[in-house]
């Protein structure tokens, strides 16, 4: 239960989430990948709080900010998917590539 083990776990979750975010065609599944990445960040922030600076509160505040970011990302992501579906009847990332250069 050392700092390195927790950080390796965080890196593993981040990598799995990144794989999902890059490879999924459906926007909702892509958001699941993003959630896994933020999961990894939560583990890393809590581990840093405990192993490096438990006397302060910076690690805890970082965890609070990341949890809020997860909630915000999910809410706005679903709203965007709904708006996209209403406009075009699709929910795939490949069909929302208007800005592609």
């Amino acid at each position: 239960m050392t700092l390195e083990l927790f950080l390796l776990l965080a890196a593993g979750l981040f990598a799995i989430g990144l794989y999902g975010a890059l490879s999924q065609q459906s926007i909702v599944m892509l958001m699941m990948g993003l959630e896994l990445m933020l999961n990894g960040v939560i583990v890393a922030a809590a581990a840093f709080w405990y192993f490096v600076a438990p006397g302060g509160t910076d690690g805890q505040v970082l965890v609070v900010v990341v949890i809020t970011a997860m909630a915000v990302e999910m809410a706005v992501g679903f709203a965007v998917v709904t708006a996209l579906y209403r406009a075009r009847q699709v929910d795939m990332t490949d069909d929302a590539a208007d800005l592609k250069g």
Partner: protein, 186 residues
């Protein structure tokens, strides 16, 4: 005991996280993600952050149940009754993610992390509350405003009927023209 718990929770988090992209049924995928989150919440509890662990459980359960509803709404294969794979660029994204993990792991193992400074306070929750209301008040205000902006943005993006559809062109209709009326009748 703590070490056993750490390994069980860590392996559970990674396995369920991987299952998210392996299972066929979308409903099972959502609850596999929830299991991964609950394992992470258990790890946060193990590190002594009781309030944050309970908050993670609370928020993630509600979020995943709402996400399950959206998965069933938008995904083609909600029950996994036909096996299908919806990936693009599988090899490239696998390469990128494995590469990222290797780089991060190299950094983690090679960096000389600083030693522990101080001990955990007797009540980390009180310390967090005092920090958020004191030195980190800017963070608190930013989070509050961001959440409010999220509520407004989400409603604006997701609704397709505005005030004028509900209350007429001059906003003077007595009762709102809703398909499913509410209890208060506004």
């Amino acid at each position: 005991m703590e070490i056993v718990l750490f390994w069980v929770l860590a392996v559970a988090a990674v396995v369920f996280g991987f299952l998210v992209f392996r299972l066929n049924s979308m409903a099972q995928v959502t609850f596999a993600l929830l299991a991964s989150f609950l394992a992470v919440a258990g790890l946060v509890l193990l590190l002594g952050l009781g309030y944050l662990g309970a908050v993670i459980v609370l928020m993630m359960v509600i979020e995943m149940v709402v996400m399950a509803i959206f998965m069933i709404m938008y995904m083609m294969n909600p029950a996994g009754l036909m096996p299908m794979a919806m990936y693009h660029n599988k090899a490239g994204s696998m390469a990128i993610s494995v590469g990222t993990f290797v780089v991060l792991a190299a950094g983690i193992l090679l960096v000389d992390w600083p030693g522990r400074r101080g001990t955990p306070p007797p009540d980390p929750t009180v310390a967090l509350g005092e920090a958020l209301m004191g030195g980190q008040m800017l963070t608190m205000m930013t989070l509050g405003v961001v959440l409010f902006a999220t509520i407004v943005a989400t409603v604006v993006l997701a609704t397709d009927r505005g005030r004028y559809d509900r209350l007429g062109d001059d906003l003077r209709a007595r009762r709102a023209d809703d398909p499913a009326g509410g209890g208060v009748g506004r």
